[in-house]
């Protein structure tokens, strides 16, 4: 890969495979994710990009029959260390899903601080501060500051997704995983989330899974192309989208398949 040594390593996988039953959905992926950079995972449906993303914060622990082999490290620490509580890992490595996931009847305020309450934080002043900070970080504060007690479900789709991001940010993750987080949004809301990714990357390391190639090229610093469960090519985004090394990458991003 081109000139990546200058960036600090945050996450790393070494020979990581994910099995559902006997067959690997992700095969032997070794990848380095750099600190405070945006990394995009691209590839056709079923290529394993989301499966790989979910392996990074132990989401497969919740799936029956799923097995992860190989290593996944955050700051050198084994994410799959059996002694490590997956909840702690998911605090460090937050996730935003394809569809906005506010608790619909819970207020906007309670939605944001839900994760904090879960770990026992009750200090009202602290919760207020974190709520405002998280909503500001997710660029939602100005739109909701006067109605924090209204239900999260009353917001528009784009606002709900930013609320989901605020909730993920409230627990101060080091890494934010975004699984096709704009695919259900209109262009304006998508644009707002993309701007937000650009603003947030100064504070957190972001990994996005996207089907939208233009989105990957617009917002990411690094791009990984997956195909049939394997990592085909990983490099700086400018390199991938101007002159990729692998023929299959070129064929995919120029729309010849997928």
């Amino acid at each position: 890969m081109d000139n990546v040594i200058e960036n600090k390593l945050r996450l790393e996988t070494i020979g990581l495979s994910v099995f559902y039953g006997d067959n690997p959905n992700v095969k032997d992926v070794s990848l380095k994710i750099y600190d405070k950079k945006v990394t995009a995972f691209i590839g056709p449906s079923g290529c394993g990009k989301t499966t790989f993303l979910r392996a990074l914060n132990r989401m497969h622990d919740l799936t029956r029959g799923a097995k992860v082999t190989g290593k996944a490290l955050i700051d050198g620490q084994d994410i799959y260390d059996p002694k490590l509580d997956p909840v702690i890992i998911r605090r460090k490595i937050g996730m935003v899903f394809q569809k906005p996931t506010p608790f619909p009847t819970m207020s906007i305020y309670d939605n944001v601080v839900a994760g904090l309450k879960l770990v026992g934080i009750r200090d009202r002043k602290l919760l207020d501060e974190i709520c405002e900070r998280s909503l500001r970080q997710s660029a939602l504060w100005n739109e909701v500051k006067d109605r924090l007690k209204t239900p999260g479900g009353s917001l528009s789709g784009g606002q709900q997704q930013r609320l989901s991001i605020a909730r993920a940010l409230a627990v101060e993750p080091e890494v934010l995983l975004m699984d096709e987080s704009t695919s259900s949004l209109d262009p304006q809301s998508t644009n707002r989330i993309e701007e937000l990714i650009g603003e947030l990357k100064d504070q957190v390391t972001i990994i996005i899974v996207t089907h939208n190639m233009q989105q990957a090229s617009r917002v990411s610093d690094y791009t990984a192309f997956f195909y049939i469960g394997s990592l085909i090519e990983y490099n700086k985004t400018t390199k991938i989208f101007t002159s990729p090394d692998q023929k299959r990458t070129e064929e995919y991003i120029t729309g010849q398949f997928g």
Binding site: F241, T242, P244, T249, E250, G255
Partner: protein
């Protein structure tokens, strides 16, 4: 979306290759008009320049349209960017063919010739550079593109030789300035045509493998 882009690219390439053919023919005709003292051939080149200029603008507009509408990437992006740049070099080569044709007409009107000035070798080399640079683009032929880049030094050297010869001839026969200056301009135009062919070949290298090979002498 990709199919739309591929259809548009096919149309663009057709127009582009037609321009390549016209420009190559213009250089050949301009040079022949000097050899053969053929005014009609020279006038044909001059008349055809407007067509080249118009096609250049059309191709530029088409490239910009494809960039704006389809956001091409990888080979599609490199192809369009290269065409955009090569388009401009082709137009300039067309202008230089006009320049040679105008010198040719002037030489014929002077009714004087100095047979010691023989551009055959230089013409053949510059023409081959143009032909090979265009072929390398059409065939995605890296080796041919590299051969064009290497050939440029030889055309430069031939131009320097003509320059030296004109200088010496002027010292001996200063009254022959008008004729000698035509020869010098023709030589200079051929040398510039070689430079543009080199630019095209460099863009072909970029188009094929994404490497920018310009200005590597520093």
């Amino acid at each position: 979306m990709s199919k739309y882009l591929q259809n548009e690219l096919t149309k663009l390439k057709k127009k582009f290759y037609e321009l390549c053919a016209v420009v190559e023919e213009d250089v050949r005709d301009a040079v022949r008009s000097v050899y053969e003292g053929d005014v009609k051939l020279a006038e044909k080149v001059i008349d055809r320049d407007r067509q080249i200029d118009m096609t250049e603008i059309e191709i530029e507009e088409d490239c910009l349209k494809l960039l704006a509408l389809y956001q091409p990437v990888a080979i599609d992006l490199r192809l369009i960017i290269s065409m955009l740049k090569i388009n401009s070099d082709l137009e300039r080569i067309g202008d230089l063919a006009v320049n040679i044709s105008e010198r040719s007409i002037k030489i014929i009107s002077l009714n004087r010739k100095d047979d010691s000035f023989d551009f055959t070798d230089m013409c053949e080399k510059a023409l081959l550079m143009v032909k090979n640079s265009i072929d390398s683009m059409i065939d995605f032929d890296m080796k041919k593109a590299e051969s064009v880049i290497e050939a440029d030094d030889e055309v430069d050297r031939l131009h320097e030789a003509v320059f030296g010869k004109v200088k010496k001839a002027l010292e001996k026969q200063p009254d022959n300035f008008e004729l000698l200056s035509q020869y010098l301009t023709i030589s200079r135009s051929l040398e510039r045509i070689g430079d543009h062919a080199t630019n095209i070949a460099e863009d072909v290298v970029y188009m094929i493998n994404g490497t920018i090979v310009r200005h590597q002498g520093y």
